[in-house]
């Protein structure tokens, strides 16, 4: 297969601009991008936390390096950014929409997200696609599609790769016969989708040659809508090389800074501050176990998402959720036993994984759950909600422990199993087997799967 020219589309941008002057540079509509090498990371810009930086970016770099791709352009929503920027071989193009339209778009995406995660009554949002706010959602998708179309006129892409439900209409709006791939990152359960949404959802999905989902059950469910394109299951992935093994002194220093002592049993939750992430389950479980295990501490790592951040879309709900969790900690008398760290840099996070006794993925629903893979890479046992995509990779008691978020006692039981494992045999076994499974969610595995898909879709 000759190297391809690709256009990637995500909602979250790879890079967020921190300094207003950096965002102001560049001329509206100009194609000459700002070179990020001339700006300062951490001062003028930063990488967005989450899947975009952890998953999509490393894959694109790898595919460029391996000459699967010859050129990559990346279009994302980035209101506080110049029109385009250059990052090595990659060109970033930024979409901006006005405040009022952003509010409508934000509302629709929150409702879709909530419904897909089964957070509210199914009838509540039946009329969403008829609402005024939906016209703004369409506006954002169309403005994105128009930018991609203009770029295509100039760069003649071989394939389009659209990520996430926020952009699902882009494929339909592009109106091109060139191959289009759509990656659906969140869960997909057709029973959570209102009857009145299905036709439009099908229209959008049918515009793609391939729809990629993160778990087998999602693929089965999406097939119930009879999409005309192919549906593939591909596990999300991380690059194990991104994770370092810090020195003992570094780990001890990081632990001290966070208020942990050497005797503490650390249960770790790494997730953004969001009700869907289920941090409250973990706090409640620690409350139940606190008396019997006086050294047990729960560490909650994470802030809001790009949508909620100041440099992002400003649609914050994370602060409200964190306040709720802090209240819960107070109610349960767990001050000092539950620590909130906020966002941590990779070095500190590596230390914390190494310092932890085990990690918990307590989400109400979770598209996949890459933090479980990170935990495996660090050789830590995991307790995982049955409602995460990654649950299909977990054999209970073999490479992890599963729990049902509807039955809080099952989480308590799983934590107790690990806390009572005095010999450490169970923890070691779970970690060892987990590390093996983690290879399925590695950048190497993804490179192979994605290359095969790109070849198939462009040569079909």
């Amino acid at each position: 297969m000759p190297p391809l020219s690709i256009c990637i589309n995500t909602q979250t941008p790879l890079v967020q601009f921190l300094s207003p002057s950096a965002g102001d540079r560049g001329i509206e509509g100009a194609f000459e991008p700002i070179d990020l090498a001339t700006l300062r990371e951490g001062i003028d810009y930063r990488y967005s936390p989450g899947g975009v930086t952890r998953m999509v970016y490393p894959l694109v770099r790898r595919l460029l390096k391996e000459r699967v791709l010859r050129e990559a352009h990346w279009v994302a929503l980035n209101p506080h950014a110049p029109p385009s920027a250059r990052l090595g071989d990659l060109t970033l193009h930024n979409v901006s929409i006005e405040g009022e339209r952003m509010a409508g778009y934000g509302k629709v995406k929150e409702v879709i997200w909530g419904r897909i995660h089964d957070l509210d009554a199914i009838e509540e949002h039946d009329e969403l696609f008829w609402s005024e706010a939906f016209s703004e959602y369409a506006y954002y998708n169309r403005i994105t599609a128009e930018l991609i179309r203009r770029l295509d006129e100039r760069f003649d892409f071989d394939v389009f790769y659209v990520h996430d439900f926020q952009q699902m209409a882009v494929g339909h709006m592009l109106g091109t016969l060139k191959p289009k791939i759509f990656r659906w990152h969140i869960p997909f359960d057709v029973t959570t989708i209102p009857e009145k949404w299905r036709s439009l959802l099908s229209t959008y999905l049918n515009s793609y040659d391939v729809t990629v989902v993160s778990a087998r059950s999602y693929a089965t469910s999406i097939n119930a809508l009879h999409p005309t394109g192919k549906v593939l299951r591909m596990y999300p992935y991380v690059d194990p090389d991104d994770y370092s093994l810090p020195a003992e002194a570094q780990i001890a220093e990081a632990a001290r800074r966070l208020g942990l002592t050497s005797e503490d049993e650390v249960a770790l939750v790494v997730a953004r501050m969001d009700p869907i992430k289920g941090q409250d389950y973990a706090i409640t479980a620690v409350g139940t176990l606190a008396k019997k295990y006086p050294r047990l501490k729960l560490v909650l790592v994470g802030n809001g998402s790009f949508s909620g951040s100041r440099t992002g879309l400003g649609l914050s709900k994370s602060a409200v959720w964190r306040a709720h969790l802090e209240e819960l900690v107070k109610e349960r008398g767990l001050e000092g036993r539950v620590l909130f760290t906020g966002h941590l840099g990779q070095a500190d996070l590596d230390c914390l994984y190494e310092r932890s006794s085990f990690t918990i993925l307590p989400s109400v629903r979770e598209g996949f759950g890459l933090v479980t893979v990170e935990s495996w890479i660090h050789g830590r046992p995991v307790i995982v909600t049955e409602r995460a995509g990654i649950a299909e990779l977990i054999q209970d008691g073999v490479n992890g422990l599963l729990f049902d978020p509807d039955k809080p006692k099952t989480l308590v039981r799983a934590m107790r199993l690990l806390l009572d494992d005095r010999t450490g045999k169970l923890r070691a076994r779970l970690a060892r087997n987990g590390r093996r499974v983690a290879k399925k969610c590695s950048l190497d595995a993804a490179e192979q799967a994605e290359s095969e898909m790109l070849a198939e879709v462009t040569e079909a």
Binding site: V95, D126, W130, S131, F134, S135, I143, E146, L147, G175
Partner: protein, 261 residues
């Protein structure tokens, strides 16, 4: 070298004809505008055709008067045009019939590419509608070419599921209109018709063709009751025209174009 006076004397015989041409252009534009306004509730393609026809008729009359002013006999001119017209019509009777039928079937025949139809004893999925024929793909994977004239002369049965519900309205917007703003405003105004439409199928705009000058879209609406077809079509057309006029007006008054980067 000729003086200004000599030039004026030389051009004087052409002056009345020039004035008539200028007036004709103005009148043709005005008549076109008027017809467009009067037919704003109609299907956009019909409106455009009527506008063009009115413009051409005014231009022809004006042109004839201008030629008369120059001393050319209008009788001879009309005779030549008529003879040419008859010759073309006789020579291209069948292709023109099909072409004309295609034009009208685009507007009035309730099927589109992708639908399954039956016509003249043939049945298949419509895979192409070209100026001459409509191409069907049969269940046996045979290509069946049906002259477009048959589509308005014979009985056509659309057997696609829920075909009666579907109303497709072609929309053409000029290249200087902000497409995202048009779509957003169109969806907003069309959502007001939702009590008359099947709530499971929100309005969808699909891009059909693009050029620097224009974008051709198709609006798909799904009816709740079959008898609302005409009323909904007219109302949707009216609303789309209003959106376009509003955007044209705001573009005229806006100092800079749209918000897309």
């Amino acid at each position: 070298m000729l003086g200004i006076g000599s030039v004026l004397t030389l051009l004087a015989p052409f002056l009345p004809a020039a004035v008539i041409v200028v007036l004709t252009v103005l009148l043709a534009w005005l008549v076109g505008l008027l017809v467009g306004r009067l037919m704003r509730r109609g299907r956009p393609q019909m409106t455009e055709a009527a506008r063009r026809l009115a413009t051409v008729v005014v231009a022809l009359i004006g042109g004839t008067i201008a030629l008369q002013a120059l001393g050319v006999s209008a009788d001879i001119l009309l005779l030549v045009v008529a003879l040419l017209g008859v010759t073309v019509l006789v020579a291209l009777r069948d292709p023109l019939g099909n072409y004309g039928a295609k034009y009208f079937s685009d507007i009035y025949t309730p099927f589109k590419i992708g639908d399954t139809i039956e016509v003249q004893g043939y049945s298949g999925k419509v895979i192409e509608i070209n100026p001459m024929t409509t191409v069907l793909l049969s269940d046996k994977e045979q290509l069946i070419s049906v002259p477009n004239a048959s589509m308005i002369r014979d009985v056509v049965v659309n057997t696609s599921p829920q075909a009666w519900k579907e109303v497709t309205i072609p929309v053409s917007i000029s290249g200087n209109i902000d497409l995202p703003a048009f779509e957003s405003a169109a969806l907003k105004t069309l959502s007001k018709l939702r009590v008359r439409l099947d709530a499971r199928f929100p309005p969808v705009l699909t891009t059909k063709a693009r050029s620097p000058q224009s974008t051709d879209l198709t609006l798909t609406l799904m009816l709740r009751r079959p008898e609302d077809r005409d009323a909904i079509t007219a109302e949707a057309n009216k609303r789309l025209t209003e959106v376009l006029e509003r955007l044209r007006a705001s573009r005229r008054s806006a100092p800079t174009p749209g918000s897309a980067r």
